[in-house]
């Protein structure tokens, strides 16, 4: 029931944001379509932790600022390498452990790896994530496990 109400609010907010209409007719039509969507979704029985993952929000609020910092840092590093005349890159493929994460945590981890320039997740399995790294520094950074620890903390909250 809590998930239903949460989804109702999220969808109504999205509808208001994207349409910007406030006339009573359009508002009631919007509410009608939002209710119809929530009814369909709850009949499909996907109103669970995976479909409406609001329980992850507190953890993510602490994780995302750190991730943004990392993304900016590695952006500057990769950009510097691209514009440098010698093109100082040392690509490698490494494997990082992913056994300590839940399914959502693994997805968050793999997506964070890809979002950060310099590392891309190639293949994700239940045990490991295969990562293509542009430089040794990027690979070593990842192997230090800092990101893995922070993702774990975020999903545990």
């Amino acid at each position: 029931m809590r998930k239903t109400i949460t989804l109702l609010f999220i969808l109504s907010g999205t509808w208001l944001l994207l349409s910007g209409h406030t006339s009573p007719l359009l508002l009631s039509l919007g509410l009608l379509s939002v209710t119809a969507v929530v009814a369909c979704v709850s009949r499909l029985e996907v109103l669970d932790d995976e479909g409406v993952p609001v329980h992850l929000l507190p953890g993510l609020i602490r994780y995302v600022p750190w991730l943004i910092g990392q993304v900016i840092r590695s952006n500057l590093d990769v950009a510097r390498r691209i514009v440098s005349p010698e093109l100082p890159i040392h690509p490698s493929v490494v494997k990082v452990d992913a056994t300590h994460h839940t399914e959502v945590g693994r997805v968050t981890y793999a997506n964070s790896i890809t979002l950060t320039p310099g590392t891309i997740s190639l293949d994700v399995s239940a045990e490991t994530i295969e990562v293509h790294a542009l430089t040794e520094d990027a690979a070593n950074d990842l192997m230090s496990g800092e990101m893995a620890r922070r993702v774990q903390r975020a999903e545990g909250a």
Binding site: L18, A79, I82, H90, P91, N111, T114, L115, I120, D123
Partner: protein, 104 residues
């Protein structure tokens, strides 16, 4: 106050343009599909991010700002998914990553 916001937004737009340009340069200069994805992710993150933030500042407190910030969130969720799909398709296809001499 609005002059400060204007300058900040202009700076963000310039930074975003610069990084988009660098990302494009990376696409041209880097040797294979995997390394090129690293270049493209610069365009996706700092390039698009700074441009959208700059536009949101220029829009001021309005619905438009909300839409631009929502776009930022969508970009942050979509771009790693597409990059991963590309990389996975490449590694399961015939592509062998171009590796450093020392690691061959």
């Amino acid at each position: 106050m609005s002059a400060v916001l204007d300058i900040l937004s202009a700076v963000l737009l310039l930074v975003g343009t610069l990084f988009t340009l660098i990302g494009g340069t990376g696409l041209l200069r880097l040797p294979d599909v995997f390394t090129r994805l690293h270049g493209a992710s610069i365009t996706d993150t700092l390039g698009a991010g700074a441009i959208l933030l700059g536009l949101a500042l220029a829009a001021g407190w309005s619905l438009l700002m909300g839409k631009l910030l929502a776009l930022l969130l969508i970009m942050a969720l979509l771009s790693p998914s597409t990059a991963h799909a590309l990389a996975r398709a490449a590694i399961h296809g015939i592509r062998k990553p171009w590796l450093d001499e020392a690691q061959k």
